[in-house]
Symmetry: C2
Subunit: 188 residues, 2 copies
């Protein structure tokens, strides 16, 4: 049975063209393995997870190395409770610390610690190297372009129109109101 490796066997793909089937199954498989491999590699090379890394990148990316919690949520496209939990765990490990916001009594900042900085400095190069080795070393220029274009198309589709309504949960906790077609990072 041909080393059939993944979820999408028949029922689904029946309603896709054969070429689409193949492409979809290849994509799903690849994407799963790639995610798994990157996470694994990250926690082998350094002592942080991909999620930690994402948070740390946002922090180092700001002069001042401090970001408001909700801004973090928005730029990472995470739910605020996820940020909250995750920051709590990272704080426990000393990678970041919280500070409360003087100008807004509700708010608080997430601040990079020295440990956090050295963690990401240790992790970043090998992560980039991994990405190069697993992806870009294999692709020629036209493929890189195609990857970007495909990704952008799909992403735009996801964050536009009705799809955006659901995503908008991230910004507004009241999905009912959102339905029309704004909110949720309307491109341009």
């Amino acid at each position: 049975m041909m080393c059939q490796l993944f979820p999408y066997a028949e029922p689904v793909t029946r309603w896709l063209e054969p070429e689409q089937q193949q492409a979809w199954r290849a994509y799903v498989r690849m994407q799963g393995e790639l995610n798994a491999h990157l996470s694994r590699q990250m926690s082998v090379d350094s002592d942080i997870s991909m999620a930690d890394f994402a948070v740390l990148v946002q922090l180092t990316d700001t002069r001042d190395e401090r970001v408001r919690v909700l801004e973090l949520a928005r730029s990472l496209h995470w739910e605020k409770s996820r940020i909250s939990h995750h920051v709590a765990r990272m704080e426990k490990r000393g990678l970041v610390r919280r500070e409360n916001c003087r100008s807004d009594g509700r708010g608080s900042f997430v601040v990079l610690t020295d440990l956090g900085r050295s963690a990401i400095e240790a992790a970043a190069p090998s992560h980039a190297e991994t990405v190069r080795k697993l992806v870009f070393d294999l692709l020629d220029d036209s493929e890189v372009t195609a990857l970007r274009e495909i990704s952008e198309k799909v992403f735009t589709r996801l964050t536009t129109g009705e799809c955006a309504a659901v995503i908008a949960r991230c910004d507004a906790d009241d999905p009912m109101e959102v339905v029309p077609e704004e909110s949720g990072c309307p491109e341009a």
Copy 2:
């Protein structure tokens, strides 16, 4: 600030070519949103998760509608403990049941129940529809081909050579033997 939505801001991408940076960030963003959307949609349209769906597809894909646990793990590229936990949960919900294997006292089968069958029959069409709408309706033939080729290249890289060593954990529980003197996917 240009709706900057995702993890890979600067530090990482510094060591990739600018075009590669853009492509990578676009891909990561897209892939995250797409996964999230597909899961969400699946659990809205039907009462199962993507993981449930994957398992059910494997089952319906077999005449007899029963599969050995380890075969399931291998075809889904999941760890066997993940399968074990997940099947336990699905069993609790009545989607599948376990049966032990007569010919091998250690083994056991996962068997599709009627409830499981109707669950996947309900879920599959709208899932396919979603995939079409979010992906393939946006892509022309050459893009579909490119998607497949890129995915296959990367997947092959991931499952070949040293990278495969890590993945092999899935098949062999003894990682020690697999590590000549590097580990961590040393190029070439």
